[in-house]
């Protein structure tokens, strides 16, 4: 018997998987082109879901995708979020954040804007995005500030842009960002098939960390710098979404409700859909949310964790255990107590080897066809 789950705090609304960008580390699933994801839920469905989320105790709403602004009803959805008492954030590539839409979104009650950039260097940023977007991203960031939105700049860091971390921070400062998310790519979704090209060296990470630390001291609280290590370089895994079914839920474009963005990759796990059930029923009662909730499901190793971290890591990422070990029920091999931890240390050694495999070539995100797993 599970203890009563806490109420959720965060709803991640993936409004659509359509996106003008092709970032090779996108956290969306590889099969974003599947017909079922094209069957997007209606405006009315989202509005109802936001109200249900508010009743359930959700405080934060992330409007994301794909590119959320591909949906023409984003403005209506912001109105609904406000009515439901949710704090709304738009996570956008920036390119469709035109003056007309930005003003309409502000009018509709949107509270926060996060714009991604791929690199501080325009040519590199466009190369990584797989399309020409940098100039419009910068314009979008200026526009967000002009309209009084708090601005977060989101940067996924990896082997091919980490060496410009100083310039990336400087650019964010110049844009008047209040927050910068410097998150090293985690190897799920599209990043999993690009891991060799993306994984940084230890030296790059140490340099990055030192730069971030110095910038924090120099800038102070007027710009918050969030720095996230790739978990391969850590001793302990990251708790999936802060714990499976603990704080957060994700709704896919077709209305499936998941405990994390990658959960659909786990075979045998059926997900409920907001077209059929209320959010409350799904959160508290569904098999999928209860499957890895809390600590009862844990393998022996986690149950007897030598570091007593059951409720810190929650066994780590289920999807990573699945991807690397073929079994979502095992301890995340990022944990150094895992008998399979050598998978991680071997990958790290490879990334730091002067004769490492791979030439940095990237497989870009596409909605057209599912790429083969390497």
């Amino acid at each position: 018997m599970q203890a009563q789950a806490p109420n959720p705090l965060l709803l991640i609304a993936e409004l659509t998987y359509k996106c003008p960008l092709h970032c090779p580390y996108c956290s969306n699933p590889l099969n974003i082109g599947d017909a079922r994801y094209n069957d997007e839920i209606s405006t009315e469905d989202w509005v109802r879901v936001f109200h249900e989320a508010g009743e359930l105790g959700v405080l934060q709403l992330a409007l994301t995708g794909g590119e959320p602004l591909v949906r023409k009803d984003c403005e209506e959805l912001c109105v609904a979020a406000k009515e439901a008492g949710l704090y709304s954030s738009l996570i956008t590539a920036g390119t469709p954040f035109t003056r007309k839409r930005a003003e309409a979104l502000r009018e509709a009650g949107l509270e926060n804007v996060q714009i991604s950039i791929q690199d501080s260097d325009a040519i590199e940023s466009d190369r990584l995005a797989g399309t020409k977007a940098f100039t419009r991203k910068i314009e979008a960031a200026h526009l967000a500030r002009e309209l009084g939105f708090p601005l977060t700049i989101n940067v996924v860091l990896h082997r091919q842009n980490l060496d410009r971390i100083e310039q990336i921070i400087q650019l964010s400062e110049d844009l008047g960002a209040r927050r910068v998310e410097l998150a090293n790519s985690q190897y799920s979704g599209w990043a999993a098939i690009n891991r060799i090209a993306l994984m940084p060296t230890r030296e790059q990470l140490e340099h990055g960390e030192a730069v971030v630390q110095a910038a924090r001291e120099r800038i102070g609280p007027k710009m918050e710098l969030l720095w996230v290590l790739p978990d391969y370089y850590e001793e302990y895994p990251k708790p999936c979404m802060g714990g499976w079914g603990k704080d957060a839920m994700v709704i896919t474009p077709n209305g499936d409700v998941l405990p994390c963005q990658a959960a659909a990759s786990i075979p045998g796990l059926e997900f409920e859909n907001v077209r059929d059930k209320s959010l409350s029923e799904i959160w508290f009662e569904s098999e999928s949310f209860n499957r890895f909730r809390g600590t009862d499901w844990m393998p022996e190793l986690c149950r007897n964790c030598p570091a007593d971290r059951q409720e810190v890591d929650f066994g780590g990422c289920r999807c990573q255990a699945l991807a690397l070990l073929g079994d979502a029920n095992l301890t995340d091999p990022v944990c150094h107590f895992s008998p399979h931890h050598s998978i991680i240390t071997d990958a790290v050694a490879e990334a730091n080897s002067p004769t490492r495999n791979g030439n940095g070539e990237l497989i870009y995100r596409t909605i057209e066809k599912v790429p083969a797993r390497t």
């Binding site: 105790g57 954030s89 509270e111 009084g148 977060t152 924090r216 609280p221």
Partner: protein, 95 residues
């Protein structure tokens, strides 16, 4: 990391607001990517941080709630702690 601030007229930065969390029966401060649970005193103080009142004004207004005690130091300490986390700015300087 703490800094010396000019903090005369405290205000919430853009994108920060107080919210009554009816499910958990408490006030929270909502902001980009976060929520901070607030105790009753903090709620009283933050409700008066409108970018017009000075710390002196706020302390004077709250004093009757605490049997007329001088709460200036407590109010100032709370606001400086929040300012150190980027959660309060000075309305005059914008930082």
């Amino acid at each position: 990391m703490s800094q010396t601030f000019t903090l005369n007229v405290p205000a919430l930065p853009n994108g920060f607001r107080l919210h009554w969390d009816k499910v958990r029966s408490r006030h929270v401060l909502l902001f980009p990517e976060g929520a901070l649970g607030l105790n009753e005193t903090a709620v009283h103080v933050l409700q008066l941080c409108d970018g017009k009142r000075t710390i002196e004004d706020i302390s004077a207004e709250l004093s009757p709630l605490f049997q007329g005690a001088d709460v200036h130091e407590d109010v100032e300490n709370l606001l400086i702690a929040l300012a150190n986390r980027g959660m309060i700015i000075d309305a005059g300087t914008g930082t």
